[in-house]
Amino acid sequence: EDAAGFRENFLSGAAPWETVTKRAADEGTVNLYYWGGSDPLNIWMDQVVTPDLAKLGVTLNPVRITGTKDAIDLVLAEKGAGKALGAGSVDAIWVNGENFATLKRQDALFGSFADKLPNSAHFEWDETDPRALLNLRDFGLATEAAEVPWSGEQYVCAVNTGRVEHAAAPTTFAELRTYLEAHPGKFSYVKPPHWLGNTFVQAALYAHNPDGSGATPFQETLESLGAAELARLIQPGFEYLKSIEPLLLGAQSGNIRYPEDGAALNGLFLNGEIDFACQFGLYAVATNLANGTFPEGAQSFIFPEGNMIKNKNYLAIPSNAPHPAAALVLADYMSSVAAQASKLQFTGMPAGIDPWTLTTDEAETLSAAAPGYIGVTQAELDANTAPDTNATLVDVIEAVWLDYIERGSADPFDVIVARAVSNLSN
């Protein structure tokens, strides 16, 4: 059976799962491309995923890339070269938002497989249930089951209680500015377009939404929202970001420093160069204390109140995957309770599956694996979550940040936004 026929059969629901596992064993290998910047995750891949998949007859080939876009480039270049399903080199990619959007726009996805996996029952697919949101939409873009959520995440900030009391940590953006006015230079955020930086910016935009409607309008696509409306919505947030720039790390000596990535941020936090570190990582404090990258006094705190962005990470299968069946087996494995629990234990990355779809035992297993919260409670977190921004807006917001904040463009704000929108659309 050729690859195209297999895909046809599987997506139409005609092929039973046994044919998939059988074909996967024949294919033998699965090439998983993922951001290799996290040692715990890499170790988990090698120590847990590889042997587990081997039991299923599939050899995991983990390709650790420094930027997800490398894999997207590869898929698109191969697709452009006429390599179809079965002939490319990427079987699965860890994607979020923008990159998924690119694959979708270029019609480079395998198809709606996620809801047809045996473990798809671990996800809430009911559109009417608001809790299904992160399974159905990735950065606001409909997933159409072309990717499977394999990890959850939440943006959380940590305070170094060795330097600042937990109670003194700001909970709103206004408090943050007040704090910085008293302690100039003791904060910074990761430089957009890194996703950690983008998320901080998004949270600020939600908080300064002139309509007071928080994240809601940011769920719409760029098309439906329009550039002018977007400009109106985000201007106050950007004004705020601009206003704190002179208070950020290094600004006093004329060199404002935005760390390049999470590791850099952690380094600054450990050395007391900054008092707060904001990044994805529900259990980041526990994990980072356990590996020595956070100072001993690190604790999570609620910031920004009501706008702590929560999202999921996904595995996508490209349309020219060389081993489509093996990719499906991998996706199904990643959706299992065992895999999610061990990942949580190794890496502190929250589960991608939805606990309420599980049996009590299974749910128990998951929560037992979690490293635990330090400084915050589950209830506090639940009360302050916000969804991600629509992927089509993220690119614009990124570009606006680069233009307005980094380059310090003097153009009127709506011109900046319009320019960003037009650059992206051609």
Binding site: G80, T102, K191, G254, L270, E273, R407
Partner: protein, 292 residues
């Protein structure tokens, strides 16, 4: 030359010619073509399209980036040359522990830049060893009070890494030439009544000048094109051109790929122009000196 001999000569040159023409020449052509809008692999083919260059060159930030790129390259080269030559001169003397020293000074030459960068991070960062020493002796009590060396546009961190890595190269090259020269001409100058600096200026320096020029040419070229050090240790926006190119290539916006290509091609042109100007000046100087 008999034709048989010509063919034999050609056959021996062919492998090198082939590799460099196809790979290197091909890469250059391809780079220019892409910067001019030829990129069918992402569905772009607007060749010939000068808009990418136009957009780049009309942006004042680009020129600042270029300025930083050249600034780091030149300052680092200058320092490496000055200290490298001094080291080479010192190496001619005999001193206790010279054998060991000759191993030590060459170490940076042998290891990747990234190691040098790692060392700079740990030593020179605001949270680094130097800063801690200052805190230890009580000069500062917060990392932010440490004079910023890394992550600034003054670029002392980048320059330090370049110099650390390239000083040995210059020293080794010049020292090797000095070894070949021997001391006789310098002794002759001394006997003729020349004083220390006259000996250096009129006799030693002119003879090591070719080595200085060729080694500084190589390191300047490297510094202009280097990526890791300015990426990790640089002051951020505006970045050096290789970093700018890198950012463009990693942007989700595919049109920026071609802009990145324009950056890279511009970089090659600048590097070529700068180095040819340097070489040309040197040649003219040599010729002038030869004539007068």
């Amino acid at each position: 030359m008999p034709p048989k001999r010509q063919i034999w000569l050609l056959m021996q040159l062919l492998p090198v010619m082939l590799v460099l023409t196809v790979l290197f020449g091909g890469a250059l052509l391809l780079g220019v073509a892409q910067a001019l809008g030829f990129a069918p692999w992402f569905g772009v083919n607007t060749f010939p399209d000068t808009s990418h260059f136009a957009a780049l060159w009309s942006d004042p930030v680009f020129w600042r980036s270029l300025g930083f790129t050249l600034y780091y390259a030149f300052v680092a080269t200058g320092l490496a040359v000055v200290f490298g030559v001094l080291l080479a001169l010192a190496l001619r003397e005999s001193f206790a522990g010279k054998t060991l020293f000759k191993y030590i000074y060459k170490l940076p030459l042998m290891i990747p830049y990234a190691v040098g960068i790692a060392l700079a991070v740990l030593l020179l960062g605001n949270g680094g060893m130097a800063s801690r020493m200052m805190a230890f002796v009580g000069v500062i009590d917060d990392p932010s009070q440490f004079p910023q060396i890394l992550k600034t546009h003054a670029g002392w961190g980048i320059i330090a890494v370049y110099v650390w890595k390239q000083l040995p190269f210059v020293a080794l090259t010049v020292y090797a030439v000095l070894l070949g020269l021997g001391r006789e001409t310098e002794e002759a100058a001394k006997v003729l009544g020349a004083h220390r600096w006259q000996v250096f200026w009129h006799v030693t320096l002119p003879q090591i000048l070719p080595a200085i020029v060729s080694s500084s040419l190589i390191i300047t070229a490297f510094n202009i094109g280097a990526f890791e050090a300015p990426f990790i240790l640089g002051g951020g926006f505006p970045d050096t051109l290789p970093v700018v190119a890198w950012r463009y290539f990693n942007d989700a916006d595919y049109t920026l790929q071609l802009r990145g290509m324009a950056v890279v091609v511009t970089l090659a042109i600048v590097s070529g122009v700068v180095l040819f100007a340097y070489l040309g000046t040197y040649r003219r100087f040599e010729r002038k000196r030869g004539r007068s």
